[in-house]
């Protein structure tokens, strides 16, 4: 499915962001990429769809080599790789619907996208996706009117609108509260399972990673130092990835954080049931935070 072969990236400043990363991701597999800041997680993800140009190695998607492509070919491949961003990266001044439809940009000619005259099939798909992520009524709102969790749902819908064969997900929960983070991760997981989509998720929160991914890859200073199922991720491995730290204490603190958020939601009485059922509780949570 996706294969990286000795991928390397060296920035002009001389920093080696990636030093020969090789790995394979199979159909339907959800891979969590963990590692300290500056380990090259973000670079790795962006090298796959070549938003960042790798300086060495090769990327294969379905045995098609991507690193030598350019222009129209590259865009044709990019449209099959959905990407979900840290801080959502929605076009804030466009409506939710326009943002979702922008997932079709690689498919439609310029005049269609310019006049917003998308093929009916694309519009149908967009409405269905908005319903799937629970934002059907918000289609004509501007993206900057939504709360964080809602925006990330739009980001997910935009990526799916591309009919992707692969999802690249960059810190999807970086600016969300613990509760919403879990909901977003659960949504991503469900969607990947529904479509047996492979996904590479860049994630800084080890607990979340353990909970929602099939396989964890630990990256340190541009090199893979761990590759295995979440169950094998013990303190020794964490120390190998992140350096020495009191992991037990950290995990307890993180768990307490998550509980705090749920307590806060509970304190809001009537909302808590709906929140627990996962029915767009972000607004309330955002109000609490």
């Amino acid at each position: 499915m996706l294969r990286l072969d000795n991928l390397a990236k060296r920035y002009k400043t001389g920093d080696h962001a990636l030093r020969g990363v090789s790995l394979e991701v199979d159909r339907g597999q959800i891979v969590g990429l963990i590692g300290p800041s500056g380990a090259g997680k973000s670079t790795l993800i962006r090298c796959i769809n070549r938003l960042v140009e790798p300086t060495g190695g090769k990327v294969y998607l379905n045995d098609v080599e991507l690193t030598s492509m350019s222009g129209a070919d590259l865009r044709r491949v990019r449209r099959r790789i959905g990407m979900i961003f840290q801080e959502y990266a929605l076009v804030e001044r466009l409506t939710v619907m326009e943002n979702v439809l922008s997932g079709r940009l690689g498919y439609v000619p310029f005049w269609r996208s310019f006049l917003r005259r998308y093929p009916q099939a694309d519009v149908d798909k967009a409405f269905a996706l908005l319903e799937r992520v629970g934002l059907a009524e918000h289609a004509d709102k501007r993206a900057d009117e939504l709360s964080g969790g809602q925006r990330q749902r739009v980001g997910i819908a935009r990526a799916l609108e591309q009919d992707p064969e692969l999802l690249l997900i960059d810190e999807p929960t970086a600016s969300l509260d613990p509760k919403t983070s879990r909901q977003i991760m659960r949504l991503i997981r469900e969607i990947c399972e529904e479509r047996s989509l492979p996904a590479v998720i860049n994630i800084h929160d080890v607990l979340l990673a353990r909970m929602f991914v099939d396989r964890i890859i630990g990256l340190t200073a541009g090199e893979v130092v761990f590759d295995g199922p979440p169950a094998e991720l013990d303190d020794a491995v964490l120390t190998r990835i992140y350096g020495a730290e009191d992991w037990t204490a950290m995990q307890t603190a993180a768990a307490e954080d998550a509980e705090d958020a749920e307590d806060a939601a509970a304190a809001h009485g009537g909302h808590v049931r709906r929140a627990a059922e996962g029915e767009r509780p972000e607004e309330r949570l955002a109000g609490l935070a």
Binding site: T95, R116, Q120, D124, F127, A128, E131, A136, D140
Partner: protein, 268 residues
């Protein structure tokens, strides 16, 4: 789930005006205005065609400027422009500071506020050139009238922006200074000056730049400076001298912008 939505139309909601009726009215009105406006522009195309030749000569003059033959006039005009710029900016800014403080609603009492706002409005309403015509009529030809014009315009410009800055300050800081029992001048000095000073300096440099550009214009109505020289050169169709003057103006403006960005970085 997906079948429920099938076939549903989507159109981008209108960006600005929601009601379709008013939208058509506004856009239609604008179109009609444009058609009317363009149709009432009378152009003597023959004259324009003849002018293309002169335009070409100007372009040549701009590329091969002649600094030498009118250097005496140019250098004197430039000296007048530059001195006018410096003196008027200094005097204008010095006068604008108290007026700007007086025009800030959060520090000045009502009567003073209205008085200072009136001065600002008076100074900002009329084009520098119109003001210059009056000052020339009163004070006679020459750079002194130009100096007064630019200083007058500087007051309105600087005082308005300073007043807005003071109104936008972080009130908590001023509050804290007031709580120490500070007097009014102390409040200005400790609570407000530090917050507005960097921008005040930046704006003064910007105004210096504007004043130089304006000083090249008011010479056309007799208020001294490089404008008079330029006017003469263009009247005599000496496009190479005119090109030289324009190039000098552009160079000085570029130098001013370049150095002011440095000063601004240094102040902050």
């Amino acid at each position: 789930m997906s079948t429920a939505a099938a076939g549903r139309r989507w159109r981008r909601p209108p960006v600005l005006i929601q009601s379709r009726r008013t939208r058509w009215l506004v856009y239609g009105g604008l179109l009609i205005y444009l058609a009317l406006a363009i149709s009432t522009v009378e152009v003597n195309w023959l004259r324009v065609y003849e002018g293309l030749d002169r335009g070409w000569r100007f372009a040549q003059g701009f590329l091969a400027p002649d600094f030498v033959s009118r250097w005496k006039d140019i250098s004197q005009g430039l000296a007048e422009s530059l001195t006018m710029t410096v003196t008027s900016t200094v005097v204008g800014v010095l006068l604008a500071v108290p007026i700007g403080i007086g025009a800030a609603r959060n520090v000045a009492p009502m009567p003073i506020y209205l008085f200072c706002r009136a001065i600002i409005a008076l100074s900002r309403t009329f084009q520098e050139v119109i003001v210059a015509i009056f000052f020339v009529a009163m004070f006679g030809f020459g750079p002194f009238a130009g100096f007064l014009t630019l200083a007058f315009a500087t007051i309105g410009f600087m005082a308005k922006l300073l007043a807005e800055d003071i109104e936008d300050i972080d009130e908590a800081q001023a509050e804290a200074v007031r709580a120490t029992g500070a007097s009014f001048p102390q409040l200005i000095n400790y609570g407000i000056q530090p917050q507005v000073m960097p921008r005040l300096i930046g704006l003064s440099l910007y105004r210096l730049d504007i004043n130089f550009r304006e000083s090249a214009v008011i010479g056309i109505v007799g208020a001294g400076g490089i404008g008079a020289t330029l006017n003469t050169a263009i009247d005599r169709y000496e496009y190479d001298s005119a090109g030289a003057i324009l190039l000098l103006i552009i160079l000085i403006v570029m130098a001013a912008e370049y150095s002011s960005s440095h000063v601004r970085g240094w102040v902050q």
